[in-house]
Symmetry: C2
Subunit: 115 residues, 2 copies
Amino acid sequence: MNNICEIKHSNEEAVLEVKSKMPDSEIIEKTAECFKILGDITRMKILVAISQRELCVCDLSALLRMSQSAISHQLRILRNTNLVRFRREGKSVYYSLADQHVLKLIEMGIEHAKE
Amino acid sequence: MNNICEIKHSNEEAVLEVKSKMPDSEIIEKTAECFKILGDITRMKILVAISQRELCVCDLSALLRMSQSAISHQLRILRNTNLVRFRREGKSVYYSLADQHVLKLIEMGIEHAKE
DNA sequence: TACTAATATGAACATTTGTTCATATGAACA
DNA sequence: TGTTCATATGAACAAATGTTCATATTAGTA
């Protein structure tokens, strides 16, 4: 057991109908991947912070009271998934949200959390 | 080093301004927690599937070609976080999305992933 | 060029997480 | 009541993840 054959009587019609309507597996995986990135407290705090105003790494480090290294690692992940944009100004690097779409996703999440 | 004091010159104004505008830490944590639940491929597939039509555990098991146990564990997590509702009908338990809000979140995520 | 500030990154480690395996619970039916 | 089907759940284990520590890179400045 412990494989698929353990299931005896699934409703084949329903399964086939849903299967035909499902988005591509690749899309679903990308969606989950995106939510996973949003699903970390440090990253979410960073995103909420820079949604208010562009901030540099050391601002974020001070704001969240976390090491520069920890912040920087998380920013890298946010960069790699195109959730933030950044620009260099002298020695500092300033981060902001990638676009309005990301902002809306976060706002919706906060809405839901407030309920 | 490796503590907050490593930061010498954060822009205090900016930090204080953002800090005053940040939602409660608890809200941010709940938001991240919600996204984290959405951030798993199996759970996302389940949610997308039942967004089309109510399905029972064995339907989901057949559809996703995963063990009943694995599906059931994930459904428990989705139940505990109020992302799905369920009803018993004889020996089967049918799952569907908790509400329109959850549907919209998922749809927005898919939108973003398609870009 | 040497030095310092700001940021980035690799390796290691502890923690979290998802699946499997085994078993329990709950409902229908003989 | 005993059996079977559908689902739920606890324990264990492997894989993924976030932080720390140490160090590298990049830019400004003496």
